[in-house]
């Protein structure tokens, strides 16, 4: 049995449209952060949405050896969580209630909340350092805080495999570092983390493995340094990659050279 998320021959298309991604094969193991890369329109978000069950697909998708298509919606939600680029939530819910939505898959329609639910919510909030935000309204939070709360909601499902669709695209540098530090901690705890990243340098800094898509097909996979060195990736992006160029960042107090 392969641990983590295993995808083979995935072809996905939106309703009535032609296939957007073709024959995608990738492996996102537990304990690692795997970045899904590619230029605009390469099919990154479609792959993530197909894996999240939002876009119909053909092919083999399994988590720790169990085919996802065979799982009931609530069972699936307890095993695999999705963090969108931006939430569609506009109602003024409290942060705690927002995270509680992650417990939906654990409850029947009329079940009262249990101590176990309470604990899971508290733990998820603590995990993303958002306990202090619990009584604030979600819609009043900053972009970075909202993204952390969305991650907490995903963790409250109890899932240990996370799909994230460009979770840091609207965040400033510091919020980005904080968010990636959280993902690193989760991966170190054995989570499977697959995230769409737009920026190659962000992927280089924070991901262990990379999967590059070009025109809806995988053009390169492997450890990040190897992916970035591949001529096909440079060709896919249409740029020269200058090693060591640009600014580097780290959170205050984090050791130099360490992953934040």
């Amino acid at each position: 049995m392969t641990d983590g998320l295993e995808v083979a021959g995935l072809t996905a298309h939106y309703r009535l449209g032609p296939a957007v991604v073709h024959d995608v094969t990738l492996h996102a193991p537990r304990g690692c952060i795997t970045a899904l890369l590619g230029v605009n329109g390469s099919g990154k978000s479609t792959v993530i949405k197909a894996l999240a069950g939002l876009v119909p697909y053909e092919g083999h998708v399994a988590l720790d050896g169990t085919k996802l298509a065979a799982l009931a919606p609530k069972v699936r939600a307890r095993r695999l969580a999705y963090v969108p680029q931006r939430t569609a939530m506009r109602a003024p819910v409290r942060v705690r209630d927002m995270v509680e939505l992650g417990r939906f898959a654990h409850r029947g329609a009329l079940d009262p909340g249990t101590k176990h639910d309470e604990l899971a919510i508290e733990r998820a909030l603590a995990e993303v350092d958002a306990s202090a935000l619990a009584d604030r309204r979600f819609t009043e939070l900053s972009g970075g805080e909202q993204q952390r709360v969305l991650l907490a909601r995903a963790l409250a499902t109890g899932a240990t495999a996370l799909l994230l669709d460009e979770p840091t695209s609207a965040l400033d540098v510091r919020q980005r570092l904080v968010f990636h530090a959280l993902l690193r901690r989760l991966a170190a705890d054995g989570c499977c983390v697959l995230l769409v990243v737009h920026d190659l340098s962000e992927a280089r800094e924070h991901a262990d493995l990379g999967v590059v898509l070009e025109g809806g097909r995988v053009c390169q996979t492997g450890p990040m340094p190897q992916v970035l060195a591949a001529p096909r990736v440079r060709a896919a992006y249409g740029v020269e990659i200058l090693e060591g160029a640009g600014l580097g960042y780290r959170l205050p107090g984090a050791p130099a050279g360490a992953v934040p």
Binding site: G53, K74, A81, P84, T87, M89, A91, F104, R107, T157
Partner: protein, 333 residues
């Protein structure tokens, strides 16, 4: 103040208002309750009137909570979306069919008061399905409101056509016009019996689907990934919103804005979560429409003031206020 404290305060106020409503509903009117011969008759008439108005208000308010959750839009309500107009048309169709096509073919023990909610139900459900087919699942505010307005106009026109046809026959014409104007003054135990199961089961279902509707506030995609079977929830929410609207229209006619005003007034106190909002809307809706009926009895006019006039006089300004606020916040596209 924390939401929990505000919710408790809201419930105290709601229950106080409910008590006052019962006193006012039984006390208001022209008849003299001090007359020992007529007292019981007056109390019975007013009691059934009160029961009809409260149940109609409760049904519309809970229906409003459900469609607002379904469309993720605080401006949605059965009257704004054309559901009420669809139910009214369904009721008129039953009345006309009763006198025409169905005349003599139905058993005597089946009064038309029991069939009207069925017609209203089919009309309101049809209206919601047509609306969804036009607007899609996540429409913008303008699309939703315009579609609801056009559907309301269409159903009202079709209803008007049937009213004209019905007036060829005096008794039928009278029944259809009385149904169209609505009101609870001539409603009794049979109307309550015909609609009560729909209201109670519909409210229970709204409560049961509450958690799924909470998750749906995040949008259909996020809800799907959190384990909600969105298509199933949507289907049942439509069915039970239609049932609640139908029950309300069968009891009190086409009352506007109840499903908009009541949830809007309650949300700041009980929060946006549906399992808190549904029971509060049930009581709040009942109180609102019952008081509107009491007000119609207080207005000193020679002819009777329709109940829908009072609910619209309160509801329309609230609707305009919400629309203006949404427009200012850039959410009205």
């Amino acid at each position: 103040m924390a939401v929990d404290h505000r919710a408790r305060l809201a419930w105290v106020v709601l229950l106080l208002c409910l008590s006052l409503t019962v006193v006012a509903g039984l006390g208001a009117g022209e008849g003299n309750l001090a007359d020992p011969e007529l007292r019981e008759t007056f109390l019975a008439l007013r009691g059934w009137r009160l029961a009809n108005s409260m149940l109609a208000g409760a049904a519309l308010a809970v229906g409003g909570v459900m469609v607002q959750g379904l469309f993720r839009n605080p401006l949605a309500s059965p009257s704004v979306l054309g559901t009420t107009a669809g139910a009214t048309l369904g009721g008129i169709v039953v009345l006309v069919a009763w006198s025409g096509l169905l005349a003599g073919s139905l058993p005597e023990w089946l009064p038309r008061e029991l069939l009207i909610p069925v017609g209203c139900f089919l009309g309101s459900m049809g209206a919601l399905f047509v609306l969804l087919a036009i607007t899609g699942r996540d429409p913008g505010m303008v699309t939703l409101l315009l579609s609801g307005f056009i559907l309301s106009s269409l159903f009202a026109s079709l209803g008007g056509l049937l009213v004209s046809v019905a007036q060829e026959e005096f008794e039928l014409g009278r029944a259809v016009v009385a149904f169209t104007l609505g009101g609870v003054e001539a409603k009794g135990s049979l109307h309550v019996a015909a609609s009560l199961p729909w209201v109670l089961v519909g409210t229970a279902m709204a409560f049961g689907w509450g958690r799924a509707l909470d998750v749906l506030l995040s949008g259909e995609e996020e809800a799907t990934t959190l384990g909600v079977q969105v298509a199933l929830v949507r289907r049942w929410v439509i069915v039970w919103t239609a049932a609640l609207t139908a029950a309300a229209v069968a009891m009190a006619g086409a009352l506007s804005f109840v499903g908009l005003v009541v949830p809007h007034a309650l949300r700041p106190f009980v929060g946006v979560q549906h399992r808190a909002l549904v029971p509060a809307a049930f009581v709040g809706g009942g109180v609102f429409v019952a008081w509107a009926d009491v007000v119609t009895r207080w207005i000193p006019t020679r002819s009777h003031v329709p109940l829908g006039v009072v609910t619209s006089l309160v509801g329309a300004p609230v609707f305009l206020f919400l629309l203006a606020r949404a427009s200012r916040e850039g959410r009205a596209e």
